[in-house]
């Protein structure tokens, strides 16, 4: 089965450090999302790409978060500097808008202490 691969699976870092999360979307998928799961908000959309172009990053704190797709096989989400409130599980998903549903990766569990 084709999979969306996210690395690392777990990350513990100190406040103020830079964190980079990576995602390898499924080959051929032209749409990539970054979501964050929190207890209160469920799945929050952070950023959204189509054909590697950013379409919507309105859910992302711009002063510290950045998302890029340097090529079709890699999407990155960077936090600099990280804060304890950023602790959450971050998911990447890929697919096509006309497909049945998007495929999610297993997530990166981030803990900022």
């Amino acid at each position: 089965d084709a999979r969306v691969t996210q690395t690392p699976r777990h990350k513990v870092t100190e406040m103020g450090q830079e964190v980079t999360m990576r995602c390898q979307p499924i080959l051929g998928h032209n749409t990539v999302f970054w979501y964050r799961q929190t207890m209160m908000q469920g799945l929050e959309l952070l950023a959204y790409f189509r054909n590697r172009a950013p379409l919507d990053d309105s859910g992302m704190p711009k002063d510290r978060f950045s998302a890029e797709m340097p090529d079709a096989t890699l999407a990155t989400l960077k936090i600099q500097p990280s804060e304890p409130r950023d602790s959450a599980v971050y998911f990447c998903a890929s697919g096509s808008p006309t497909g049945a549903g998007y495929t999610f990766g297993s997530g990166t569990r981030l803990t900022v202490v």
Partner: protein, 118 residues
């Protein structure tokens, strides 16, 4: 502004009975709806979807009903099994505006924790 709402944080059901999970939305542009299931330490997995041109879609034990006038959808699981215990997310998207920046963008509800007791 929560455009997709799942007002029940949790639901507990006996094995063999029906589970009904509910979802409400506010954005009239949404025309395609999906349900995802999520187990702990895993990403959400796609379960079933429905287009706004339909009012029902069935796949085995899972049926999704859509009431457009009420902006409400529900997921029925019959019969419920212990392996169905998971978090269920409702999601919505607008596919009618191909090429727009919101095209294909998925908006999720907060999730409902389903527990099926043996």
């Amino acid at each position: 502004d929560q455009q997709v709402k799942q007002n029940s944080p949790s639901l507990s059901v006996q094995e063999g009975r029906i589970s009904i999970l509910n979802c409400d939305y506010t954005n009239s542009m949404f025309d395609y709806f999906l349900w995802y299931k999520k187990y702990p330490a895993e990403g959400p997995t796609f379960l079933i979807s429905i287009s706004s041109i339909k009012d029902k879609n069935e796949d085995g034990r899972f049926t999704v009903f859509l009431n457009k006038s009420a902006k409400h959808l529900s997921l029925h699981i019959v019969p419920s099994q212990p392996g169905d215990s998971a978090v269920y997310f409702c999601a919505a998207t607008a596919r009618g505006n191909a090429g727009g920046t919101s095209y294909g963008k998925l908006t999720f509800g907060q999730g409902t924790i389903l527990t099926v007791h043996p």
